[in-house]
């Protein structure tokens, strides 16, 4: 880390459980989970798009549910289990069914929104909200793709949902 860290009187010592590992952090209370992941822990797979809760690029799982890391304080999730895109594939590198389906369906162009799309899609399927294309579109509305790859994203989620069901 080459950024200068000023220890304010309010610095917090946190232990966050990320992708099954405990990570110790010294941070100001205002630091979001997104900034903690990217700037402190160098887990840059989680993307910063709008940083205002509007685009979904920063989607991660907390206790298995999809949330926005940009509107979550790191301090708030101490004691919870956090999963990022880096923690989705198997230990041996085997891709998650949703990751594989995104590749197969070419469900991206520039790729910036993709980690958020995939984290959101994994949860969308798990919630049981991927029953039809219409339902997928509704329950994936919080993930914007400025390249407009939506038809392929829907196809990838449809495919992965079928595979995970069978």
């Amino acid at each position: 880390m080459n950024d200068q860290v000023t220890i304010s009187p309010t610095t917090l010592s946190l232990n966050l459980t990320i992708n099954g590992r405990t990570q110790a952090l010294e941070i100001e209370p205002r630091v979001t989970l997104l900034d903690a992941l990217r700037e402190r822990l160098h887990l840059t797979g989680t993307k910063k798009g709008c940083d205002q809760g509007q685009c979904g690029a920063c989607t991660v799982h907390v206790d298995g549910e999809r949330v926005l890391a940009c509107l979550t304080l790191a301090a708030q999730v101490e004691g919870r289990s956090i999963t990022t895109i880096e923690g989705l594939a198997g230990e041996d590198g085997t891709l998650h069914a949703v990751q594989a389906a995104f590749l197969e369906q070419d469900a991206f162009q520039c790729g910036y929104c993709t980690p958020g799309q995939i984290m959101s899609a994994v949860a969308c399927i798990r919630e049981g909200h991927a029953g039809s294309d219409e339902e997928i579109r509704e329950y994936m509305a919080g993930n914007l793709c400025r390249c407009g790859a939506y038809p392929h994203i829907v196809a990838a989620i449809r495919q992965a949902a079928q595979e995970l069901r069978s």
Binding site: T10, T59, E65, T72, A75, E138, A141, N143
Partner: protein
Amino acid sequence: MRDFSYLRADSVEAARNAAALPGAMLLAGGTTLIDLAKCGVAEPSTVIDISHIEGLDAIDVAADRAVIGALAKMSHVADHTSVKSCFPAVSEALWQAASAQLRNMATIGGNLMQRTRCPYFRDPQNFPACNKRAPGSGCSAIGGATRSHAVLGVSEACIATYPGDLAVALVAFDAEVDLGGRKLKVEDFFLAPGATAEQEHDIRPGEVITAVEIPGSAAARRSTYIKVRDRQSYEFAAASAAVGLELEGDGRTVRDIRVALGGVATKPWRVRAVEEALKGKPLDEAMIREASELAMEGAVDHGANHYRIALAPRVIARAILKLGETA
């Protein structure tokens, strides 16, 4: 975002004590507070994290009453089987709000404390005048771009739209908010701006929302929430209506009807004039459309939001007709 000190409350009592500290703000899901802190609108000196208080997220639904804990997540309430069957308008208002991620974060108590999306309110650097942020400073919206602003319950001090969906369904069914020491109607919990735009809720320092209670009714069981917006999903309402309907044994005469509007008013807006005009009458499209126009009594537009005066009654009529068809 200005820094703040962070405290975790592990009980409602601890939260109440901490909430009384000057400059303290409660943090539940964070979807309003962290967002507004980034905009420079909220500047808490202390953030009290109440999201880890145990037992405050229960959802208890019986035929005569639903009690929803303040920390229940929007998504969990929306998908709750008994909420869907006994209070469909509540479930529909919730799943049509925000995005799946935000609904997994935002709580029912926090939802009631959601602030307006008025772009002038959210931009203190470019628009210092805002009676909500700085009482007496004026209103930048009046005379500005008003396409998304309210037409009902407005004042010379403020025309900011109440943006939420859930509370619209709650006021339709006489829900109450439990503040621990006192309970009040959700309808009274929200305050129209009048001359005091900065006061949006009847909540006092040290008070914490613990639950929302919704009385069960035949109208609540046969209810719906229709939301019309600029895009199909993930958008605030241009106009929305929560409607509940109970018919007499003949299957066509209105015994009870509840109507509330969202997206067009400064607070969740119950429209009793529409209800009274239809009670005891047989369902008839022309009469429904005529009665729905009564909702706009006293409406004031500021140019670009004029279309909402035409839109809102149509949304009400559509909701009533939809419920009538399911007879």
